[in-house]
Symmetry: C2
Subunit: 247 residues, 2 copies
């Protein structure tokens, strides 16, 4: 699984809590290799653990390198994230645009995602180590994302592009046309029996009910619930003495 092998490189991160959040975001999206380039000294491990929670092994297995150049020396593709515009930063693409390319490249080469320090982002020297530039879409009113949030967006796009995720989906299958018709027939009888509608208006009222119940999916389980309700209503309608029914 190539996604697994994509490396996240943080350049000189300041806050242990952020690094812990990065670990959780990575594991949430199926990544596990964390590298710290040019560390500032010891990170606050307590904060890191608090935010990493069940992804603490990503933190514990991190690798440290004296410089970014050393952290990506074996990488064929090095994608750096920057929110700042400017010289050297104009060839950027969004994470969604880069993701399929990075996933493809990861099949034959080491791939790194690089993120700068919390306060300043990537420097021009850092960008010189990058082969591609990522610009995360964000509002011009506040374009700069928290470090772990930036990592999350990039990992999320890689995770989706890797095609490994499928929504669990509905366990009960979609109801057949025959089941739906049986259900509507029971409701027609039920609504007639309680005097909600009379024979000549029934078709019109039933169209309204059909419209309401046909806007989304109707599973076999849904139909069984609706049939149960209709049967009980029909039963109740049949208990009523004819002379007591509303006109």
């Amino acid at each position: 699984m190539s996604l697994n092998d994509i490396r996240v490189v943080l350049v000189s991160p300041i806050y242990g809590g952020n690094v812990g959040s990065v670990c959780r975001a990575m594991k949430n999206m199926g990544l596990r290799h964390l590298a710290i380039a040019a560390p500032r000294g010891a990170l606050d491990e307590l904060e890191a653990r608090k935010m990493a929670l069940h992804a603490i092994e990503v933190f514990d297995n991190r690798k440290e390198y004296p410089s970014l150049a050393e952290a990506v020396a074996d990488c064929g593709l090095v994608a750096g994230a920057t929110a700042r515009p400017g010289l050297y930063r104009s060839h950027s693409k969004s994470p969604r645009e880069w993701a399929p390319h990075l996933i493809q490249a990861a099949k034959t080469a080491q791939v790194a995602l690089v993120f700068g320090t919390e306060t300043d982002g990537l420097s021009n020297d850092d960008l010189a180590c990058c082969t591609q530039i990522i610009r995360i879409p964000s509002s011009p009113e506040y374009p700069s994302l928290n470090l772990a949030q930036a990592v999350l967006i990039c990992c999320y796009e890689l995770f989706l592009a890797s095609g490994t995720f499928e929504l669990p989906g509905e366990l009960s299958p979609e109801a057949s046309g025959a089941m739906r018709e049986k259900m509507f027939e029971l409701w027609r009888e039920a609504l007639l029996s309680v005097g909600f509608m009379k024979g000549d208006k029934a078709d019109h009222m039933m169209m309204g009910l059909r419209r309401i119940l046909s806007r989304g999916t109707l599973t076999e389980k849904d139909i069984r619930i609706l049939i149960g309700m209709a049967r009980q209503v029909r039963w109740a309608g049949r208990q009523i003495q004819p002379h007591s029914k509303p006109s």
Copy 2:
């Protein structure tokens, strides 16, 4: 701008830091209306401020409601995020699938995104207030995202679906075919002049160079740099005495 009006509702959040991170994520993605349903008491404002940074006005302008039902009483569409599978949760779709639908609905109705408490997520009672269920794609090894991370992914998808973001793009226009040909012609002369290739191999070598320089965009600015290099190389080649050239 409809995106602006979509409300983020947090049910009984515990950590001020998370709520601050939610505020930053919202403002990063162009949202601003935060509601807290069923608050547990005072949030840690210091932590909230530390994480919200320049989005602190989202925190300061938050509204509080005694219950989720009251927080979404005026909403036509209420989308709840849940990572847990189970009964009542099977009709989920991903944020990317829901986003265009929510953006569309926000043009005519109040729309809310609802997130549960950090420890437990949304309860079944909370889900009863929701008209749609969002399931954020995540790894089965660690499916549960941090609260602010979950909010970010949903807001990011809404932001992209709203179509308000455009990458700043390359300022220098793409070079014309004529500029590219002029550049390659200068490089041919330059490489011949320094003896890198001889007449009969020149076409072959130039094809290699064309391939290398045609893999991505080449802007007018790029071409000017490449032309400047070629001219200088050609000049250097012409300074060399004929007898000193490599054979």
